[in-house]
Subunit: 339 residues, 3 copies
């Protein structure tokens, strides 16, 4: 039950070189490789001669060459040569998947190739703006359905429980948060404001707040599998809430790209960028370490949740905090129905 | 194929604290916890909001609180509060299981709650009499159906083969043993006598026998899943057999509670108590070490037997030593038919 | 989908002693043991009393004795004694499998016992001729269908790719090789000649070639599961090709016996014998190390190939190098159809 006609993150640009790379996306084994000309290609990870994964082979020029008997395929999946054989049947080919490299990410389209329109790939220019938004990137392999990761990001009341040891904070403050949510054309966005609140210790450490702050958490989900997060705080009086000011103070931008591997596993691509003290690599490192610890807490919950849901399907009940999640589900259902 | 309307050992009392505890019983994930008031409770280990196992949460007062979004449930499984939400639907609840703490054990009833009658819980007062019967307890996780553990205990001719390195002894002596077996209301009991025999080295070491002994092994199976074992020896002439004397000499009482986890796994709760040299903790330790080694030998056999039976079902044949086992099977079949 | 009426290698002779030995063949668990009289026997690895694998028991005289309750079976699978029981039902028996020890191998017949004809066992006298053909033996457990191992041996164009780090050599030389293939009564044989070619470094190291050589690779497949390999080289002019001379130079004989364990796993028995410097054990060791490294390269490919084929069945295409493989498949299909 996957949405196939959609762009998913297949890899970080930095993961793909001229050494073939194996990744399963939507239950399809894919061999990704960077051609000699630099462009990234993605083909079915299975030679059509004897079935060996092509990712065990090597790249030669623009082609990927099987590591068993040397059969070569071009980026379109056509068999281009067989050692010791003159004629190559045009029927010998493997499936090729449209890919596009943009914003430091390799995007892949697993559906009908003709429907692949690059203009619909979610943009994230912050990855290309390291001066203003220094960041580090990560890919986690999670043993849960990808939708659980999205669900997790769309109900922040989990912070006080899952992350009480790290970024959690006071459950009541979270419950009191001002919250507005709205459906968008491709998903949902919401913003939570903790106005006139004490900044968390990590914020104080980062930017030396000396008093109370207005704190926001702004999320946008773009179906099927991207979430943008913009979290920050400004000193009370600087107009973060009243005037939409975002300059100075504390500011994080987190990219979340979640790609189904199977119904029971997913690849979770994230980056964490900071909009303060941009010239200090140690700040980038500290942020990355903090996010890694936080997302490890989520991973433990998500995997236990998935195992539990898989073991015994039974009705679940929503709370008032599930509004964004319910809108996101509708967006996913709409995409799914369109296929 | 489980007998559900029955009491099973869910845990040792010592295992359950105010930190929630996960154990699967009859294929149902259960969260056990000790409420603030001290009573033990057991609920379905799955929050009805988003499915996280409740055992990953924490106990607050009389309630168990989900570790994902803080939803609380009381000991009856009713949702008692949702952070940031006024109204709680009475439909939001998880299943609760009747439990009872007795004789150092937590008993659980997985069937129809109304049918749970505490008076039918098998008693084992020796657990509460540490002065006369000092003991240590254990729970082993076995990869076999629970019935194989019971079968093992009901045919002691395995001692000479499985335990030849430990408590086995002479196969012929076991074959010569005087044996009487009788069905009981809830199962079967049998007694084996090795009259006028040489005591095993461990017996001599324990109580300094200087000559031959009359040795007994008395077992009672209470369906579906408890076996009481009373093993001992007295010097010949002290009337163990003739007059039913049990005072002095060597005496062990072993409790066996076997609880199905799945069709392929079980929890094996056992304790070993000694009725001699009761004031010497080292004796308790030595006994525990000996039993642990012996039951590890059984575990290896049981797991191999289970794997073999699972791999290829085929008819099996009984021997003359299967009498107690056959009566026990009938008792189990009767309980099963009653459901 | 196994061919059952056939002889398979069950074990190396050296593996079987009076300690029972477990091996699964064609999905049947088998207990192999050497009787007191020295003959090897094979019975179903499952006691018909309570199902324990008999391989966990022990050999007593001509019988195998179950490690649970001491029930004994003779080499024909008949229950010969039950401790403490006078009468033994003739229905108590386990299946016995015809076996034969020959050429250092234990052969087993998993089909209809009456059809087992020892004269059809593939011979390999080189195992008994250690003076002329010193060798070492190995058994590898592979996570692939046994037919993939045979396929691998019948298309040597993989050498230049899979074994480029070891014995591979120049892909073009392999493509230029003179190749003749012919169906045999029980399978297929082929010979590849690399005439007037530079000997690989390992050949030079072995027998001090100083110039070009004529090099051959001669393979014979005997369905369902044996491949004989005879690989060698003589200096150009010594008539290897023209006159069939095989004396001197470099010569290896490799035995391959591949026995299905399950549809997804197999036992790969191989030996490597050298026909040069026969009195130097270090040469035998060097050869064994080289073959082990080479077959480990194959194992990695075969297991990846099997996993890939299992994950997604889809049509495969042959190349010109698949001729021998296609003939072998026909031989297997014929045997299969005959059952």
């Amino acid at each position: 039950m996957f949405i196939r006609n959609a762009w998913y993150v297949a890899a970080w640009s930095s993961e793909i070189s001229t050494r073939p790379f194996a990744r399963t996306v939507l239950e399809e084994p894919v061999a990704l490789f960077r051609r000699g000309s630099g462009t990234v290609a993605a083909v079915e990870d299975r030679c059509c001669h004897r079935g060996l994964p092509l990712s065990l082979g090597e790249v030669r020029g623009e082609c990927i060459v099987c590591g068993y008997h040397g059969i070569a395929y071009d980026a379109d999946g056509r068999c281009s040569s067989i050692p010791g054989q003159q004629h190559v049947s045009p029927r010998m080919r493997v499936r090729a998947f449209p890919t596009h490299e943009q914003d430091g990410l390799i995007w892949i389209w697993m559906g009908t190739p003709d429907a692949a329109d690059r203009r619909t790939i979610p943009r994230y220019a912050y990855h290309e703006d390291r001066a203003e938004w220094p960041h580090r990137t990560c890919v986690q392999h999670l043993r849960c359905n990808y939708r659980l990761v999205i669900d997790n990001l769309l109900d922040l009341t989990h912070l006080a429980f899952v992350h009480k040891a790290t970024i959690g904070g006071d459950p009541d403050a979270h419950a009191r948060a001002q919250f507005s949510v709205a459906a968008t054309e491709r998903g949902v966005q919401f913003i939570r404001w903790l106005l006139n609140s004490l900044p968390p210790p990590t914020y104080v450490q980062a930017v030396n707040f000396t008093g109370r702050v207005d704190r926001w958490m702004e999320f946008e989900f773009v179906a099927p599998a991207v979430v943008y997060q913009f979290t920050g705080a400004l000193a009370v009086g600087e107009g973060a809430y009243e005037r939409g000011n975002r300059r100075g103070g504390f500011a994080l931008r987190i990219f979340h790209g979640i790609t189904p591997e199977t119904e029971d596993t997913c690849h979770y691509f994230w980056s964490g960028a900071h909009g303060y003290r941009q010239s200090e690599p140690a700040v980038t490192d500290t942020l990355f370490a903090a996010l890694s610890a936080t997302f490890a807490e989520d991973a433990a919950i998500l995997e236990a949740q998935h195992a539990s849901l898989r073991a015994r399907p039974a009705p679940l009940f929503n709370t008032v905090h599930d509004r964004a999640r319910v809108i996101a589900e509708r967006a996913l259902d709409k995409l799914f129905a369109a296929e």
